[in-house]
Assembly symmetry: C2
Homo-oligomer: 354 residues x 2
């Protein structure tokens, strides 16, 4: 009836009619549900293929699942996150689930002063509103309470935050250990004035569980263990390239300059390298620089950044596995996975000058 582009999309009813069965049968076949004879399954599948039927997730979602899992990233610019996403996608690929990404954009609008946490909360809500069957939160800025609230409503896996909860699963890197790896490496090279660039944490409540905070703690502890407690020097900016740039500017202006800078993330280290270059200093001859995440950029020829590898793909795959399990059985006990980081030494670290 409908001419031109408006050809109504084929629905389960069309398939049922074409296959001469009930819509229930079609629905069951779609979901591999129990109670359909092979013959009927055959006919339904033929009809589906013939008509090119694809179920609408929205309609499915009204009663059952949408077969969609949402991933909330704090920032797409950080090259570490794609690793995690790849891990998730890879694990989900052979299932019927589809991954949808949401991210807080970092554009600073004049009037709007929504904090990162607010943007993130809004994003989480909007994903729930869109019927995600489950969600993965990567290093969420929200407080434990808000995360638990979300987890009460939808299967959830948190990546990066060091917080245990009965309501959601968690996958974290042993950030304290990773930080110690860097400090020990630098100390072994002979460095004493090893500074660290952290992310400023406005909310003290959640502070302790953020990955950056744990790295900073690991840094402090390792420095102390090395007998360098008096040399501890932390600058707090942000886990962005700009944060690294500004942090390094501060550190390089110290009366007694550090001989090594441990940036909390590779992306931060990128900014550090820029600032160091601008200051006319050579890496690693004048100053050593190390990062965290071992992103693909760290390996770049002109960079060769020493960095901590935290196996992002593995973390993503673990998270996806836990999420799928939890979607299947929401009351299953919660799991807490810790992965062990390793140090990848490249060309930005060497013995201190002199």
């Amino acid at each position: 009836m409908d001419p031109g582009t408006g050809t109504r999309r084929v629905t389960i009813v069309d398939v049922a009619a074409h296959a001469q069965v009930s819509t229930t049968a079609v629905s069951k076949v779609m979901r591999n549900a129990y109670g359909v004879s092979p013959a009927m399954r055959e006919r339904v599948n033929a009809a589906i293929a013939e008509l090119g039927y694809r179920p609408r997730a929205a309609a499915r979602g009204m009663r059952g699942r949408t077969y969609t899992i949402g991933v909330v990233l704090p920032d797409i610019r950080n090259p570490f996150f794609p690793e995690i996403v790849d891990g998730i996608s890879g694990h989900v690929r052979d299932t019927e689930y589809q991954v949808m990404l949401g991210t807080g954009s970092r554009i600073s609008l004049p009037g709007t002063s929504a904090s990162d946490a607010e943007v993130e909360l809004r994003l989480i809500d909007s994903m729930v509103d869109r019927g995600m069957d489950g969600m993965v939160l990567v290093a969420p800025a929200a407080g434990q309470k808000r995360v638990d609230e979300a987890a009460a409503g939808v299967p959830l896996v948190v990546i990066g935050r060091h917080m245990r909860s009965a309501l959601h699963d968690t996958v974290v890197d042993d950030d304290a250990r990773g930080a110690a790896l860097v400090v020990n490496h630098l100390a072994d090279l002979g460095h004493r004035r090893i500074a660290h660039i952290d992310q400023r944490e406005p909310d003290h409540g959640r502070a302790a569980t953020m990955p950056n905070a744990v790295r900073t703690r690991g840094y402090r502890d390792a420095m102390t263990a090395q007998g360098l407690a008096g040399q501890i020097d932390v600058v707090s900016t942000g886990y962005t390239e700009e944060g690294g740039y500004l942090g390094a500017k501060q550190l390089l202006a110290r009366e007694v300059r550090p001989t090594a800078i441990f940036a909390g993330a590779d992306i931060v280290a990128m900014g550090v390298l820029t600032a160091v270059a601008e200051a006319g200093l050579r890496v690693p001859e004048d100053i050593s620089v190390a990062g965290y995440d071992n992103t693909s950029f760290a390996a770049l020829g002109p960079i060769g950044l020493t960095s901590v590898d935290q196996a992002g793909q593995q973390i993503g795959a673990d998270a996806a596995r836990l999420l799928l399990e939890r979607i299947a059985r929401r009351d299953r006990p919660s799991t807490f996975i810790t992965t062990s980081p390793t140090l990848v030494v490249r060309r930005t670290t060497a013995a201190p000058p002199g």
Copy 2:
């Protein structure tokens, strides 16, 4: 009634009851539709706030809109794409729309040999199935026919592909001009053997409209215009870091080495820099390198890559604007926007040796 966590979510019915109005009234208020008295609007809004009501997109989508726009990215690792996403998000921020990202992951699975184009097509379908009100396709690999098919079903804006269509809007960078900018810059510096690294294009049908193809054409034309037609040298790998690495390996193995390499994208240039460093050559003393996209990494201190800026945020914002317009009026004539690139000269290009 429902105890514990299972507290049923508040629906439009709850709001209506609480405000002592009909569900129709609530629905109208939600959509700022015509035909509600200020008084009623007031009461409804109060009830919404009091109950913390949030409409479910799935349910809305069954009759009206989902207020969701989907963005399909070929690859999240390319640091240029976040620029576009920021542009889109920024434009959409003050509307009720929410942006959802989908991306083809680049994990190569042993058994699975789905091509990029297939993965992308599946992704587009799944976004349509999930009721996106509109979609932005960034440099889609699909053929014009498939894109048009998709555009017939859902408002669509294509970024990057140089193809006009009555069914969708298009936003492209003048890639030929950008390539000419690079070639002319290098030629002015005195280079003659200027090589180019392109993306291998398996499908000849769509080849001409892909951004990389247009850049390559621009390179050839500019070389010819400079009287360097005999020096044209194109290696086709891929728009990835690895593609740049492999391409540069090939070029550096030439009997007569090029004195400059124009990489089709910054991410490709990264790989080129790695290969050049491995070969023990200095940039720009021994060889010049230029990229395209002017991503944040190009500006990095230790990189300082000369690159073509194509204003990703602007492109994203334009695309979002066109999409919103098309969602509002699907039959509106299609628009084709071309943005003009500029060259950003940094430290990887200089006069050739000798």
